[in-house]
Symmetry: D2
Subunit: 277 residues, 4 copies
């Protein structure tokens, strides 16, 4: 049985495709400019159907996915996009039971995806120095019922993470290259490192610093999501798309004395224009 | 403590960047043309370091990620790429405790990613009609220690899935549009549907059929992964990349009588060349 | 000497980066909400500098490129983007002296690029059945001083092109597959064929029809233009980009009896996911 | 009439899709491991048809396009790809009668495209310091019958170009930022500047230097060409594609005292992840 229950998050979609998240509670009411929706009309009923406000406006009621939760996050800065969050979760090998450290928390979008992946036995330790952001992230995680799997810490990581032997470490900071010693200290030997950066200049700085700090298997990647208009007889990409969310950088922490031997070497075969230098 | 133990999977990387997966066992030996490696040299020791064969050849020993496991899969057909698998896991809302049905299993690459996401409490029910493929998938899942979370079923799904009220359903079949009634019957109301298809013609067929079968929130997307050479002072994309792995199609199963109202409507604003029809 | 002269087109860019095209004439005046600019202040002077209205507002005065002309085109429908126009010119082998037939003209954006390429000795024969569009295209070409190299014809091409032995033929029509006999009749043996189409369904139809009509060397391509923010210390792609302008289809007209032997054959090596069918 | 004549270049395609360029001459013979082809069997005949060697092997005979000529270039280094060459021609506003300076010539691929665009009245002045490269470029341009429109100069440009008041300048050098004074001196006021660079680091250096040297309207772009398998009933992108040919940089030379006012300013609206800095 999968009927909606008190405490569940529900995604409501209006007929002009606006999306809203509500948490069901007995005798709760959701007020909208299209009328009022009683939570008790949803509780105990299946989702995946149209519900109507008392003045007849339709909403499609659905269970929200992690993808929806990230997109509906309350935010003051930009968030990590779901396509990137999903890929980071896999690249950092986050699965039930794992322990991950993260800085900074931001609005908590990636934290949410990480928590969903490592729950119930794992933990996300997330650091954020701005109290306003930390507060926002806490509310976002609470709304998603994931706060139990996250420890939020209101400070920067200059003095280091509290954790050791973490399985993975993700740095979403402007200058992650300044915190690689801290990342290493928190990670278990061979642990997974990741970062996301908006500019190529930052990627260059981080890659250089990772090599100096004994990280290997350094990989830089971008994910481009191209949406299509879902029209069977006129299938085509949408007119516009997001061109850039961030460069993703991944690496593994290895014994410092071993790192030099495993540096990246350019294969140099089949090189196009300009690769000759 | 995170030292390697008997039973662990270990990724070994040679100095020409070839990658091998072994499962540690007491007194085990790994024979390679570069010499012999004793498992007992790894057991009880930290990973993230260089190990050497008895004739001195170095290998980097690392814990494999889900990403690595998918890439190292034994396969007879092509597999779903990690970037797509990670995104499918999130779009289908697969997290610990969820129940997912899948057809066909293929080599088990997506099955592996789904199992990692829904374990320990959830289950993947995966159907594959070719005995040879099913066998391969079983061995791949066993090697990844994920078989406990998967029920493999050796038949096609023409007669339907055994499961009901599943949270999500993924069809990796040549003609998924023929099995949408079965998908609906297996899914809970509002459940998550996904598919991957190589050709645009198939996408058109599937989108049309999804609309006829009461699926809404249909989305068609592609993920392009662009790798960079990780060289700080000469940052640039690699020379070549994978241009196409598959079109991803997602949808939600809703009450059939409600579906028509929630069909995709083309916004038609800011449309480029040719959209006038 | 390359000072601006009466009759020249000049691109004026305001300090909020709006772009305007004017044609210089003695005693001409350009009225803008930022004041008045006298053409005689530009005539006889070099371009590439700031000019000011009589109330002091600055404009950057530049020679417009073909790229600028296409972007500044007066249009009622969407135009072919400069990136596509440039590539079509090269793929159709349009250079000085060549003869090209085109249908339909639309706003004349591609016509303009083709005319620039084949002038002075070549000609573009461009067909458009909508009088309103033909008129617009004529004014656009006149403004660009390219009308001398174009013959505009106000009819559809169902009854065929007037021309024979043309070097190239481009069809920018909704159903180009209906006019391939006409295209063949206009082209010289081995002539260059091109088309641009917004949807994958149309591409499938056109590819099938091209094979039936004795076209070979069929190629389907897309060009994606990714712009970057030109900031030296923070280099990164722009936030959004155009995701789709059109699928480009190119082919060569060969002797009908020879065509079957030169059909596309799928190489089938190194095939990813799903290519097995 | 468009039959092949002595002196024409002809593209021959074998049935395993290998491509060869030959120049027709009376009594000429083309020897291949598939037999001998007499030029006189082609001269005076239409192209766009199958021709056979004396032992019966078929070749498709076609007129080569500029695109084909670039792809068939004899080269020792990588060449500028046709998609980029076509776009550069348009961005630099190269059309019949224009004067363009270029350094370095390399194998002459872009030179060829520029010459085709500015002929018959225009000229390309192309500088190359390596005698071996210059020689190769000369032979490539001669084979394409374009040498009449090009002046090849065997020296580097440290001491400047010989030309002044050029319409456009293209630098295909490893460190183009060292030659911007020379580029300015060669260009007319407002002239068009372009460059292609493989790495992001180089782009940063060039953008900074362009601003210092009074260039404005700086644009950085990439063109990605995505090819499809031209199969009507199974339309899909190819498995792999070229991921990177080069970053394209364009700018305009303006009066130095005016340049600062027209610098790029980041619009900062709708910015994604990370753009906050």
């Amino acid at each position: 049985m999968s009927n909606a229950q008190a405490g569940d998050l529900v995604l409501l979609i209006s007929d002009d495709r606006k999306r809203f998240l509500i948490r069901l509670q007995h005798e709760g009411e959701w007020h909208t400019h299209r009328g009022l929706l009683r939570h008790d009309d949803l509780i105990g009923q299946p989702l995946g159907r149209t519900v109507r406000t008392q003045i007849g406006h339709p909403f499609l009621a659905l269970e929200p996915s992690t993808h929806d939760l990230i997109q509906q996050l309350r935010r003051v800065t930009q968030i990590i996009f779901p396509k990137d969050a999903a890929y980071i979760v896999m690249r950092l090998n986050c699965y039930p039971g794992r322990r991950v450290v993260e800085a900074g928390t931001g609005s908590g979008g990636l934290t949410l995806a990480l928590a969903r992946a490592v729950m119930p036995g794992g933990r996300v330790y997330s650091y954020e120095e701005q109290p306003r952001m930390l507060d926002l992230a806490r509310r976002n995680l609470q709304r998603a019922a994931l706060l139990d799997y996250v420890e939020l810490k209101g400070r920067d990581i200059a003095e280091g993470f509290d954790e050791q032997d973490a399985d993975a470490c993700f740095l979403d900071l402007r200058e992650p290259w300044r915190y690689l010693a801290q990342a290493r200290a928190a990670l278990k030997p061979g642990g997974f490192f990741g970062s996301i950066l908006p500019t190529a200049n930052q990627v260059s700085e981080l890659v250089a610093a990772l090599e100096q700090h004994g990280f290997v298997e350094i990989e830089v990647e971008e994910l481009l999501l191209r949406p299509y208009k879902p029209i069977a007889e006129r299938l085509r990409p949408t007119d516009r798309m997001v061109a850039h969310t961030g460069y993703l950088v991944f690496a593994r922490a290895v014994a410092v004395e071993d790192a030099a031997a495993w540096r990246y070497r350019d294969p140099k075969h089949g090189v196009p224009k300009g690769s000759e230098e």
